[in-house]
Symmetry: C2
Subunit: 385 residues, 2 copies
Amino acid sequence: MTPVRRGQWQTASDVLAQVSRQPSITRAAVARALRLSTGSATEVTARLRDVRLLTEAPAPSQGRGRPTTLLRAHPQGPVALALDLRQGSWRSAIVTLDGSFQDHQSKRHRSRRPQVVISNLQREVGRAHQVYGARLRVVSLAAPGTIRDNRLMQAPTLGWAELDLETVTAGTGLRLFAGNDATLSGVAEARTGAAAGAGTALHLIIEVGIGGTLLIDGVPAQGASGAGGEYGHMALGDRTRICPCGARGCWDLEIDGRALARHLKEAAPDDPYAYTEAVLQRTDRTARRAVVKVVAALASGIAGLVNAHDPDVITLGGLAIPLRAAAESTFEDAYLDGLMTFHRTAPPPVLSATHQPDGPLRGAAALALDHLTSEPAIAAWVAEH
Amino acid sequence: MTPVRRGQWQTASDVLAQVSRQPSITRAAVARALRLSTGSATEVTARLRDVRLLTEAPAPSQGRGRPTTLLRAHPQGPVALALDLRQGSWRSAIVTLDGSFQDHQSKRHRSRRPQVVISNLQREVGRAHQVYGARLRVVSLAAPGTIRDNRLMQAPTLGWAELDLETVTAGTGLRLFAGNDATLSGVAEARTGAAAGAGTALHLIIEVGIGGTLLIDGVPAQGASGAGGEYGHMALGDRTRICPCGARGCWDLEIDGRALARHLKEAAPDDPYAYTEAVLQRTDRTARRAVVKVVAALASGIAGLVNAHDPDVITLGGLAIPLRAAAESTFEDAYLDGLMTFHRTAPPPVLSATHQPDGPLRGAAALALDHLTSEPAIAAWVAEH
DNA sequence: CCAATTAAACTCGTTCTACGAGCATAAGGT
DNA sequence: ACCTTATGCTCGTAGAACGAGTTTAATTGG
C-alpha cells in the first residue's frame, strides 16, 4: 500500500490554490510565488497533469526568454456547484479549479415558499450531479440569513422559519457548505475584490439591516457554529427599540429603510430595501436630513468596529454604497469622529465592494475551491484515478 | 549544500508545539495526537535530541505495556524571555520549550517614568542575554495599552505618551513581540485556561476600561497593526460622553469605576480600579444600584459581541469577575436579553479566567513559544548546531 | 538572417522525511 | 514463569523537493 505521507500533496495543493485565486496564472508565476525551483515546478505540474487536475497551454510570450505556460483546469477535472439564494431569485454556477464559471445562470423564484425554492435547488444539484458525475465534488450555497451548521436559523428577508439546508444535497452524498450571503461576499472581496491582499478586512453590506464579516487572510471569522458576522445586532442604537432578532438597540434598526422611515415619521416599510432606494431619490430637505442621520449612524458604527478590529481596509456593499455617496462628508466626519485618536492619522480606507451582484456566488465558489484544493480532497481525487 | 526542503522540520515543529502546550506530555501521547507511527516518533524525537531541543526522561508507568518517556526541554535548548509590564510593577520569566518558567520574578517600579521603566526592562533583557547567550532567541512583552507594530500608542493606565518599545531589545539583535496585556491574557486563556480547546473564544478584561480579544484557534485577531481588541471603544454607550481615546459614547465609559462614580454622582476617580473595588465593598442600596447598572451595560455589550462573533466561550478577567458576581442575576438577564433569539437556547458560557494574575505573562510566553517552535526558528537553531 | 541573450523548462542524481512491518522490550496480570 | 499489552527500535521503501547542469524557445541586435 502506498504510504499516505504527511504533506504528500502539500505543494500540489499550494499550486492549485494559486491557480484558483488567479485564473490563468502562468506556471512561472506560480513557481516564483511559491519559491519553487524550476525542477520542482516541472515535477509538480507533471503530476497534476497526470491526475487530470490541470492542463497547460502555451502562454503568449512576454518578452525574451522561453515562453511559459498557462495553468488551466483540466477538462475532466473536479468541479464544484456554487449556489446563491436571493430574495427574488437564485443563481448557480459550476466552478472549475481555475476559478472560472461554467453554466452560470440566474432564475427568478416562481414561488417563494421554502419547499418550492429548496426543491428547485435540489433539482439543480441533481442536474449538475448527472451532467458532471464524479467530477462534482462539493456544493456551496449562499443564503440571506443567519446560518448555523448548515441550518438557516432566521431569514427575515425571505420570511422563512428555521430550515435545514442539508436537504439541498440530500441523497447525493455531496458535502454542502452553506454560508451567509454577506459573509460570502466578504470572502469574494477579500480574495479578488477591493480588499484583495488585506491581512485583516472588514466587509459590511446593507440590504435589510446590516451584515458582514471580519476576514483574516481571506478567511471569514465565522464563529463557533458559522453564525458570526451579525454586526447589525450589537447594541449601538437606541435601547428602547426592540429588534425582530429578539435583542434591543440593534445597529440594524439605525441604518436601513426602517430607520429612514422613523426619521421621516412614516410607517415602517414592507420592503426596506426599495424604500431606501426611493428615499435616496428624493431631494427634499426632510429626506436629506433622514439620510444624513442614517449615514452618521453607519459611519460611527464602522469607526467602532475599526477600533475593535483594526482592519487594513473596510469594504461596503449593497445600500451602504449609495447611502454613503449621498452624504459623503457626513460619513467622513462621523467616521473620523468615532475613531480612536491614533487611528486618525491614517484611518483604514472605506472602499466600495467591486463584486457587487456576484459577491455571494463568487464567495461561495471561493470557499468551495478552498475545499477542492485542500490536500485531503486532492488525495481523495487521486485515489480515484 | 543541504537542500532546505519545504516542511523539513514540519513534524518536529508540530511535536514541539505539542510539548510547549502541554508541559510534561509523554512521547506516546504526542505520537497519538499527531497520528505519527511509532517509527516516525522514534525518529523525530531522536532528531530533536540530537539538536538539543528536547530530552527524554522515563515516565512513571501507567499500567501495562512498555513505559513511555516524558518529553522535556533540553537543558541547553533555546529559551525566550517573557516580560509583563504593569501599572505598579513588572514581571519577567525565562520560558523553555516545554512551556515552563525559570527565573520568574516580579519587581515594583521605583519610578514610573517611562525612561526608568524601559531601562529596567532593557537591563533585564541584557542580563538574560548574558546568562543564556545564544540560547535566548526572542523576547515578548505584555504592556497595558494599545500597541501597534511594537509601538505603545496610548497607555492611559501608565499615563505614558507614545513610545517605541523596540528599544527594549535594541542592541541585542533579539526579535521583540510586544502585545496588549488583555490580548495576551486572552491567549493564555485560549491555550491553557478556561477557553482551552475553543475554536472561537472571546476574552474580555476590565481594569480601567475594557480590553480583550477575539481568538480563533488560540490565535488572537490582532488586526492590521496589532492594535485590535479595543472593544471598549465601540459606541455602545451614551454618545454625548467623550472618551479620552478621542471617540464618543465608548463602552469603556459604562463599565468601569468612572461609570460607577457617575451613577453615584461622585467625582471621577483618579484610580478607577481601586474605586471599583471600594464600591464593590459597599452594601448600601445606592452603591448596589450603580453596580447593577454597570453590570447590565457589561452583559448587554457582551451579548452584542456574541451576536457579532458567535464564540464558543467568553472568558472574563480583572474586575469583570467581581462585578458580575456582585449582580449575578442582572448579568444573566441582560446577557440573555441582548442575544439574538436563536442564541438563547444554548448561549455560550461566560467563564472566569483561570490564569488571573499570570495571564499576560503566560500569553506573552505562549506567543514567544509559537515563534520558537516555528519551522524557520527550528531550522535556524539547527543550522547553528 | 543569424548569433547573442534571456527566461524558462527539462533531466538527473541526491537528500531527507515519514511510512509500514516486523522485532524487541518493559511493564502489569495470571 | 508465561501471557498480555503498550511502547520503542530497526530497517527497507517511497515520494517530494532540491541543485546543478542542460536544453529549448522566444526576443534583440548586428
